[in-house]
Symmetry: D2
Subunit: 227 residues, 4 copies
């Protein structure tokens, strides 16, 4: 099964992750968003956890900007922070607000274990490793949502807005930019044959671990009662 | 219920963690170690995961040495790394070896999600925060094992060695040293009234989160089949 | 001598830095910018080094975003990264371009030792310490340029544009925002009496060291031939 | 001119650094240690600054332990921390004590700018980059002192002890271990052809910059009056 064309590294890492990638992008939670069968309570639980997630995810992109080697890399990473803080997070605030969850309640969300595990893994990968380790750990979320968005494009029902956001031109453009950033960063540091270096295995493992943590996030979001 | 005297901060953080501290130190897994009812399979599963845990835990103590402000702090933190790498981990290797798990198998242990969540939380607390954040996140493991060891002292049965190790004079001395390190680091940075500063809440939260992750670790270790 | 009102911490840190603060803000290089006596060659040398400086300085602000504890802190830090990358650095490119130094030449500038010393000190303060250590090390540059700008306001001559930029409403507003960020971050973590804690001495030392590194930067920029 | 055989990477990086490597290892300060013409005042100034240097250098090796990918890498890095804190630094304390500088005075040494620049560069390279960046920045000090020690072996006069320490079997063994650590870390991550990857240029630049900072350290140590 072929995925979207978000670049060479994404194609390789996605293929190398095998069934876990399918389990993530075709998770029951995702199917529930698509056909509208997801209980609203689960959706709101997800949105609240995702808000907490995005705070740490934006921190991780900021760390990427700190670890960039070129001005272009820094600009791309900081543009993503900007988009998360000024576009994606306000959307969450707005959607939650429609459902009676105000910003204070949203910010007071207790972080679920599966949420904490994921974001700390990504941040620690970045701190202990380098720019590439961080990008490999960030990729499954950014690009996986792009792939899910494309698959759910045109969904009607209660979650049509969610589907439209990630299927939309803006988000898809972001995915292409991030894919280009990753391919450029790999080429710049490791050359065109990077996939044959031992380093490639570490990066593949980062991508695969983050994918499994995405599955854990959907599992957590699907659970009836938040911890 | 009063705990061991590992210093002022430990007493406060332990009390502030409430029921979660009891759930951690009196976990069914711990009771199984005490009365010998823990299945050997679970024990070996635990030892293997704990080996992976200790690698990252030693890395976190090394990070503490890097973030120390004084030579004494650095010496204390690096002595702990040394003890972990040259004493505690070889013990695991030896015990596992007796049960037919060789070093290669031990090192190839796939990291369970609850294991990963804990160690990355601790490391990230240290990288994003300062020396105090790191110590508060490290404390529940080091000092909780000391408290458990004291309670399980004199246990006979299949896990007598485990109990004797953490009840033993060497490990208890380490707990007192770590408690002293923490109290000294707090005093040096925040003064004698540190517990009344807003900073104290963050540190309490670090300790409490790490305690909950300890519970998750016992839960994971108790599960029949490792993921 | 009283300085601009960029907040409480700035006032205290500035006073606590004593003569070094005066040496920085009244450096011969600054006087040369004011009265136009600075040789153009020195100015261009400075601009090139400052461009390299700003890359690392933006990385340090990105690190601040990664280390922030609240969304507001993160938004403030990332807005500064954005301003540096998308406003201040393009201005340098434009000014240098007018004087025959193209972007490629600008980016190929070899980093002078006094430049490297300063930026690595700031970044390392942030990595090894916490958000407060980083802000204390970042403050002398941001706020010192604000103070210098105010003093040089209305200067005519060849460096009128430089003076107008830092005296201007936009830059002065940034200084007030950064001052507010610092005061809020201190209050949030250490409470209203933070200046009486031992921690205050470390932060004062961070500010004073960064101030001395600013003097070293002007010294380096004043030297006739770049190393 | 051929250097000591501390491994493949050292040979390449040393050659790639060219004249700067000669300027470092044959600095006037080194010649003064060799023939005894170095004023005692300069030597004591150097020892005091080197003590401050070693604190941060030990922190950098601790960071290397935190960033290690294998237990063997971690053990090697933490053994170096241990040697620095428990062997090399006590030697400085002892030598200074003979000359009337007690430990309190030693620890109160104000850090010279050239000292600060060097250690912060190394630490920041490690934090922003990965294990390899850190090792490349650490190598010139460890291995350069080994090369200098070999060249100064057998020197008599007032600095015979200094020469004997770095020429000695213990220190030379450490150099071989560090060289092996570096070669192994490169091979493990980048494969046998690492020197042909773009990554090699970054690492070469790290080594060369640290070498230039060593020259700056000797210059600082040679200056008649410490700042």
């Amino acid at each position: 099964m072929t995925g979207p064309d978000y670049g060479r590294a994404f194609g390789l890492w996605r293929a190398g992750t095998g069934q876990a990638w399918v389990d993530y992008t075709h998770h029951a939670f995702v199917e529930g968003l698509r056909d509208g069968s997801l209980p609203q309570q689960s959706y709101l639980h997800y949105l609240r956890q995702d808000y907490v997630f995005l705070i740490h995810f934006a921190r991780a992109w900021a760390l990427a900007a700190a670890k960039a080697e070129t001005l272009d890399e820094m600009a791309a990473a900081s543009a993503t922070v900007h988009a998360l803080v000024h576009v994606e997070m306000p959307l969450h605030v707005q959607t939650c607000s429609k459902h009676g969850i105000d910003r204070a309640a949203l910010e007071a969300t207790p972080e679920a274990p599966g949420n904490l595990a994921y974001t700390r893994y990504v941040l620690e990968a970045g701190y202990s490793g380098d720019f590439l380790d961080l990008l490999a750990a960030l990729a499954p979320c950014v690009l996986g949502y792009g792939e899910i968005g494309r698959r759910l494009e045109g969904s009607t029902g209660p979650y049509a807005d969610w589907c439209a956001t990630y299927a939309g031109a803006d988000y898809q453009a972001l995915c292409h930019e991030v894919g280009t950033l990753i391919d450029g960063a790999l080429l710049r540091r490791l050359g065109p044959g990077w996939m044959d270096l031992p380093r490639a295995e570490t990066l593949q493992a980062r991508f695969a671990t983050a994918t499994r943590l995405e599955i854990g996030f959907w599992d957590m979001a699907s659970a009836p009662a938040p911890r």
